[in-house]
């Protein structure tokens, strides 16, 4: 497919990739999050305990996190199209297979292992790595739109599953969700996904390669001082550690709230309905925050400053949650934290791509996601343990809030101006990185 030189201004093909990836994220993460809806019906049918079903969910989470760097490595070798397409096919088949669940081992193997492995192939880090190939100047915006699929899928797909469950049963619902991935997601991905703009005779962002630029060297050909051919090269430098450590804190501080926010609010004397409303408000702000963060970093530059600001705001939100009593504190927390929730995704990916280039971005992004997942895994369990020990969420939330300030400092001290190709090549947006 080539953009014809007709003198018209067609939509840059990269935007098709953006919305295809967003749709993939919406479908796949939505189906994974729908597991919540299946817990009670499956427990009732098989006589399982809550702990039993939680094992399957935890295995899926862990498998996905551990496999993530390897899926990224395969992405770097084979390209995004093959990895995303094959992962979606496996994911769709595994989802259909779940409708045949007959015992606990089957659930753990299919949902925990097969589904978990396939999820690592269609993960946010792989779709973001793909989009980073298609965009340079608008990388933050493109990855920000992609990340909105998380919140949209979490809402729409889970609701769809809930209504299908009421209309039919859990077996039919799994089958329909799987068919949606196979019948809708796979064809759209097959039709639109391409590995690289060069495959279509295009340049990133839809730029035109004029003879002048050709002689001067276009920004797309710039190589930063830390450009990495292998992930191990990247991890011999500071910026990736600064990004990964702050991403660990990101996972720590978002997962703890995902699981414990509503119980905390109810414990504060708030009704379950109001607690759920506040949580829903926070989720809607995810979409605004994700898109907004990517857009402002593209428009004004200084990605690491925005990233630091996001962590700082989230830290402030935790302080509000602990200091301001009653529903006011919860609303204030939701407003500030909601905007910062997914905003770290496009900023971290964009900065990683700008500093380390695209050759090993899938693997590097996968390792970053691993850090993020481990943060989440530790925080959720720590909060549960401390709640049991103290009868309060004050200590775990205080720990989470306190970690966000060093995370902000870690992001802020990244020497973006020195290492990012946006600055090295003199093609940065109007703003400054400030280092």
């Amino acid at each position: 497919m080539k953009q014809a030189d007709t003198g018209k201004h067609p939509l840059y093909y990269g935007w098709y990739i953006v919305f295809t990836c967003m749709f993939i994220v919406l479908l796949t993460n939505g189906v994974r999050n729908s597991f919540t809806v299946f817990i009670i019906p499956m427990e009732t049918d098989f006589g399982w305990s809550r702990g039993t079903t939680s094992v399957a969910a935890s295995v899926a989470l862990l498998v996905s996190a551990v496999i993530q760097p390897f899926a990224g490595r395969i992405f770097d070798s084979l390209g995004g199209r093959k990895v995303l397409l094959s992962s979606m096919v496996v994911l769709g088949l595994a989802t259909v297979l779940l409708s045949f669940t007959f015992n606990f081992i089957f659930l753990v193997l299919v949902f925990g292992v097969v589904f978990g492995i396939a999820m690592s192939g269609v993960s946010l880090s792989n779709t973001m790595a793909l989009l980073s190939r298609w965009f340079r100047r608008n990388r933050g915006t493109a990855t920000g739109i992609n990340a909105t699929g998380l919140a949209a899928g979490g809402l729409l797909m889970v609701l769809l599953a809930a209504y299908l469950m009421q209309a039919t049963n859990w077996r039919t619902t799994w089958a329909i969700l799987g068919m949606l991935i196979l019948g809708l997601g796979v064809p759209i991905a097959y039709l639109f996904l391409r590995n690289d703009p060069s495959q279509m005779g295009l340049l990133p962002d839809g730029d035109i390669d004029t003879p002048d630029e050709r002689s001067e060297g276009t920004p797309e050909r710039l190589v930063g001082p830390l450009e990495a051919d292998r992930w191990s090269q990247a991890f011999r430098s500071w910026p990736i550690w600064q990004l990964s450590i702050s991403y660990f804190v990101c996972g720590f501080t978002t997962s703890i709230i995902s699981i414990h926010f509503v119980p905390f609010a109810i414990g504060e004397g708030i009704s379950p309905g109001l607690a759920a409303t506040i949580f829903g408000f926070m989720m809607l702000l995810n979409i605004v925050g994700s898109f907004g963060a990517g857009f402002v970093s593209d428009r004004f530059g200084g990605t690491k400053n925005w990233l630091a600001l996001v962590y700082l705001c989230r830290g402030g939100a935790y302080v509000l949650l602990l200091v301001v009593p009653g529903s006011l504190g919860l609303w204030m927390f939701a407003a500030v934290a909601g905007l910062s929730w997914v905003a770290t995704n496009p900023l971290t990916t964009s900065l990683t791509a700008d500093v380390y280039g695209l050759r090993a971005l899938g693997t590097i992004g996968g390792i970053s996601i691993f850090f993020h997942s481990m943060g989440g895994f530790i925080s959720v369990n720590m909060a549960g343990f401390l709640y049991d020990a103290t009868g309060s969420y004050t200590i775990p939330f205080a720990i989470a809030g306190a970690l966000l300030f060093p995370a902000a400092l870690s992001a802020f001290t990244i020497r973006e101006r020195k290492y990012s190709t946006r600055y090295v090549g003199g093609s940065a947006p109007m703003g400054a990185s400030g280092d």
């Binding site: 497919m1 080539k2 014809a4 007709t6 018209k8 067609p10 939509l11 098709y16 919305f19 295809t20 749709f23 919406l26 479908l27 993460n29 994974r32 999050n33 919540t36 079903t53 939680s54 969910a57 989470l61 998380l150 919140a151 979490g154 809402l155 729409l156 889970v158 609701l159 769809l160 809930a162 209504y163 009421q166 209309a167 949606l180 759209i188 039709l191 639109f192 391409r194 279509m200 990101c250 978002t254 997962s255 995902s258 699981i259 926010f261 509503v262 379950p272 309905g273 759920a276 409303t277 949580f279 829903g280 989720m283 995810n286 997914v342 995704n345 993020h372 989440g376 895994f377 959720v380």
Partner: protein, 66 residues
């Protein structure tokens, strides 16, 4: 319970609250609401394909062939 991940988790209380709200506002059966949500999900691929075909008809893209 919610499966921990970055964003996109729907708390079970929130799910119940949204379902009640939708049932009150729409007053439709389960299948009808499921079809409605399915239609909303379909918007993205339908718009993508329509836009692509429109652009292609205007001659902005050649045939697929990478």
């Amino acid at each position: 319970m919610s499966v921990a991940a970055h964003g996109g988790e729907l708390d079970i209380h929130l799910l119940g609250w949204i379902k009640d709200l939708l049932d009150d506002i729409l007053g439709l059966g389960d299948w009808a609401v499921a079809a409605l949500i399915g239609a909303v999900i379909l918007v993205i691929p339908v718009v993508l394909v329509a836009l692509y075909l429109f652009q292609r008809k205007r001659g902005n893209y050649d045939a697929v062939g990478d």
